[in-house]
Symmetry: C2
Subunit: 443 residues, 2 copies
C-alpha cells in the first residue's frame, strides 16, 4: 500500500467532517470511552513503541542534540497512560458543545430563525514531543464533532503511530477519515497552505513555534505566543495581600505563561512592600531585576529595557516603581502581551480604572495571575489558551472548537412580501428554544 498524500488525507477529513458533525452526543461520548478502553487494554504495545522513541532520543541526548527535558516529556509509563485515559473520559463527560441554540427568533409567523452551535469542520493540529498531546487533541476534536489532522514531533513518531492506530481501531463506528496522521516535516507547510480545506490551525509548542505558524498561514490560528504578565501593587494596596499575590504569581509555577514577569509598584508603598517581597523571593531563590528607584530600596540587579518585555518562564522577576496608576497601565500597554494583568488595591474605583484601561484577555483585581487557566475558570476540558482576540480569547474550552450556523424554518415565505412599498413588517421576536428542535435534532 502506498502512503496517501497529505492532500488526500485532508480531503478525506473534509468528507468525514460533514458526517461526524451529525453524530449524536451519545455516539461521540461512546467513541471516546472506546478510545479509553482500548488504551487501557494495550499498555504493552504502546510502551514498547514509546521505548523505541525514548531510545532514539537518548542517543541524540548523548550526541548533545536533545535535552534531558525533551526525553522526559517523551517518556510514557503505565501510570501516565492511566492519566491519559482519565483525561479522555473527562472529555467524554463534558457537556455537549454542539446543538446549543444561541438565539431563536420569530421573523414572522411560521418563519423561525435558529442560531445553533456546530463543529468548525477540519482542525489542523501541530504539536511537539509529548505523545499524550495526540490523544488529548483527538479527543477534544471528536467530542466537538470536528475532523482532525494530527502532526506530532518526529521524536515521538513510534508512540504517535501506535496511539493513532489504536484510536482508529476504537472509533470504527465514527465516519472513517475523521482523524488523519501526518508525519513528515514538509507536510506541515502543505497543511498551512490548505486554507480552502482546513478551517482552524492549533499549534502547541514554544512561542517561536506558534509565531512561525501564525506568520506562515492564512488559516485562522488558535494558539498562544508569549505571556508577559504583570502584578501592579497600587497605592491603596493591602501590603500582606500584595506580597502573597506577587509571591504566588511568580513562585507557584514559574514556567507557565500566566506566571508574573514584571512587578509594578506605586511609589507611595514601595518602601513598605519591596523589602517584604524581597525577603520572600530570596527564600524561594527568585532573582530580582529593578529600575534605579527599586534598587535604592532593595539591592538587586539592574533591569534593562529588554527585561520589561521578557517572558522569563523562570525564577526571575523585573521590578519597577511607578508614580501613578496611569504610569502602570501605560507600561503594561507598552511592554505587555495582553495575556493577564492584576491590580492589588483596596480601592474599587482604582481597580475599575485599571481593568478598563487594559486590553488584556484577563484582567484581575486582588488575585494571582496564575488563575488564568481553563480548569480554574471552570471551562471544563481546556482546548488551549489563545493570545488572539478573534473567535476565542484567553483560556479556551470546547466552545472554541465550535462555530454556528443559521437555520431558518419557513412555510414558503419569499422576500418579495417583505420589500417595497407594501412591505410586510418583520416580527423579530426572540423566544426560548429547547436545544434540539424537530427537524434539526441529531436523533
Amino acid at each position: 500500500m502506498t502512503e496517501k498524500t497529505t492532500e488526500t488525507k485532508v480531503e478525506e477529513a473534509q468528507t468525514a467532517a460533514l458526517r461526524i458533525a451529525s453524530l449524536s452526543d451519545d455516539e461521540r461520548s461512546e467513541a471516546l470511552h472506546a478510545i479509553a478502553e482500548t488504551i487501557d487494554a494495550r499498555h504493552e504495545e504502546i510502551l514498547e513503541a514509546n521505548e523505541r522513541d525514548v531510545r532514539e532520543a537518548e542517543e541524540l541526548l548523548e550526541a548533545g542534540e536533545y535535552s534531558q527535558a525533551l526525553v522526559d516529556r517523551l517518556k510514557l509509563s503505565s501510570s501516565k497512560l492511566d492519566s491519559i485515559t482519565d483525561m479522555v473520559r473527562s472529555v467524554a463527560a463534558q457537556e455537549d458543545p454542539l446543538g446549543k441554540t444561541q438565539e431563536a427568533r420569530k421573523l414572522d409567523e411560521r418563519l423561525e430563525l435558529y442560531k445553533r452551535s456546530v463543529p468548525i469542520g477540519v482542525v489542523g493540529t501541530i504539536f511537539e514531543s509529548r505523545p499524550d498531546a495526540l490523544v488529548q487533541i483527538a479527543s477534544l476534536c471528536l467530542r466537538s464533532g470536528n475532523a482532525v489532522i494530527l502532526k506530532g514531533g518526529s521524536e515521538a513518531s513510534h508512540s504517535n503511530r501506535i496511539l493513532f492506530e489504536l484510536i482508529q481501531e476504537a472509533t470504527a463506528d465514527v465516519p472513517s477519515g475523521w482523524a488523519q496522521l501526518i508525519e513528515a516535516r514538509a507536510d506541515v507547510d502543505t497543511v498551512l497552505g490548505m486554507d480552502d480545506s482546513i478551517d482552524l490551525v492549533m499549534p502547541r509548542g514554544s512561542s517561536e513555534f506558534v509565531s512561525y505558524i501564525q506568520d506562515n498561514t492564512s488559516i485562522p490560528v488558535l494558539g498562544h505566543t508569549e505571556g508577559v504578565c504583570h502584578v501592579y501593587v497600587d497605592s491603596e494596596a493591602d501590603i500582606p495581600m500584595a506580597t502573597d499575590i506577587a509571591y504566588d504569581a511568580k513562585v507557584q509555577y514559574p514556567a507557565v505563561c500566566n506566571a508574573v514577569e514584571t512587578l509594578l509598584v506605586h511609589e507611595s508603598v514601595a518602601e513598605e512592600f519591596l523589602p517584604e517581597i524581597a525577603a520572600q523571593y530570596e527564600d524561594a531563590d527568585v532573582e530580582m531585576r529593578g529600575d534605579d528607584a527599586s534598587r535604592a530600596i532593595v539591592p538587586m540587579e539592574t533591569a534593562s529595557e529588554t527585561d520589561w518585555e521578557t517572558e522569563y518562564g523562570d525564577l526571575v522577576i523585573a521590578v519597577k516603581i511607578v508614580g501613578s496608576l496611569e504610569e502602570a497601565t501605560d507600561h503594561i500597554t507598552t511592554y505587555g502581551s495582553k495575556h493577564t494583568d492584576s491590580i492589588v488595591t483596596d480601592d474599587s474605583t482604582r481597580a475599575g480604572l485599571f481593568m478598563r484601561s487594559l486590553d488584556s484577555a484577563s484582567v484581575f483585581h486582588n488575585a494571582s495571575t496564575r488563575f488564568a487557566d481553563g480548569f480554574r475558570y471552570g471551562l471544563g476540558a481546556e482546548v488551549g489558551i489563545s493570545t488572539g482576540k478573534i473567535h476565542a480569547r484567553g483560556p479556551v474550552g470546547l466552545e472554541g472548537l465550535t462555530t454556528y450556523q443559521y437555520f431558518l424554518e419557513g412555510d414558503g415565505q419569499v422576500v418579495g412580501t417583505y420589500a417595497g412599498a407594501d412591505a410586510k413588517p418583520f416580527l423579530h421576536e426572540d423566544f426560548d428554544a429547547s436545544w434540539n428542535q424537530g427537524s434539526l435534532s441529531n436523533q
Copy 2:
C-alpha cells in the same frame, strides 16, 4: 504640515482604541447623533466635494476607464445624505454591544469571574466607490467602541475627505485619533502588514477584492467572497411553493450574494416543476442553463461544469436534476460556497437531513435564500456578511465588532491554595449578573 505616515496613524488609532473602549453607551450614541447633525447641516460642502469626484469619474467614463455603474454609485444627493444620516441615527439607537456579561461564575467565595463583551480594538477597513460606506463603517466602529482605519476608493477621494473631516469635527469629544483616513493605494499593503497593531480587517467590494485581501494578510478578515446559493426542490415539495421560492430567490434582486444561482430538482417532481418555473422565469427574462435531463423537459441552454460554480449575480440560473437528496447535498458540497442553501419539502425529516448535511452559514427549509441578511435576521445594523467560519459567520451585526475579556474580582486569593495535596476545591457556580458590575461599570 507634513502628512502623517500610515504607521503613525495606526499608532494613534491604537492609543485611541484603549480610550474609546471606556466611553459610556450614551457618550458613543451622542457622538453618532453629532455626526448626523453635522452632515445634515453641511449638505452644500459635501455635495460640492462629491461633484468634483463625479466630474473626474465622468471624464474617466468617457475615456472608457470607468463604468456608468461606478459613476452612479459615487454620486451623492441631498436625499441620499438624508438616508445616510437616518442610518447613522439607527446605529446610535442600537442596543449597546459592549459591557454584556456573557458569563458570570463564582470560582470560590469572593472570587468572581466575569466574561464581558469589549471592543476588538483597531479595525482596518478598505472599501470601494460608495462614499456612504465611509460614514456607515465609521458609525458602526464608534458604536462598538473600536478605533478605525478608513481606506476608500481613490475615485471618491474628495467626498471621503470632506465626510471624514465632518466626522472628526462632530466627534471632538471622542478620544482623538479614533478614526484615521488613509488615501494612497500603497498604504493598503502597509495596513495589511500591520498584524501586530490591527485586530481585524473588513474589506468591502468585489469577491476578487476580498479574496486579494484574505490572501495578503495574516490579520483576521471579516468579509464575504462569493455566494453560490442553491434551492433544492425535493421529491416531497409543494410545487407552487417551490415555484414562488425559486422565483423570488432569483428575480427579487439578482445582483446580491444571497440570490440563488443553481436550482436542484428531484427527478420525481421535475416534469411538474420545471415547466412551471420556466414560464415564470421567461416572463422575468431569466436565462436558464441546464443539464441534459432538464433540457429534455424544458428547452434551455446547456450548462457546463463552470456554470455549477458561477455566481452570476444576474438573471441567469443553472438547473440540474438529481436522483436523491444526497445527490443534491453532494452537489452543493462540491460546488457551493457555504453561503445559503434552501430545501423545499413538506417532509421535515428530509428537511432535517438536508440541513444537517450542509456546512453553509445559513440553511433554510421552505424559505427564499434572500432572507439571509442582517436586517431580515433582526440583527440590527449590519456590519457585513462573513464567508469565514471563525469569529463571525453569515450576516454579522455589531456583535461582530466585539470580543470579550475575562475580569476576575478577588479578595487576595492565590493559586497555591487550590493546588497540591490539600487543594481547596473550586465552587464553579454560574450566577446571573447585572450588566454593569461595580468597579467594571463604564459610568
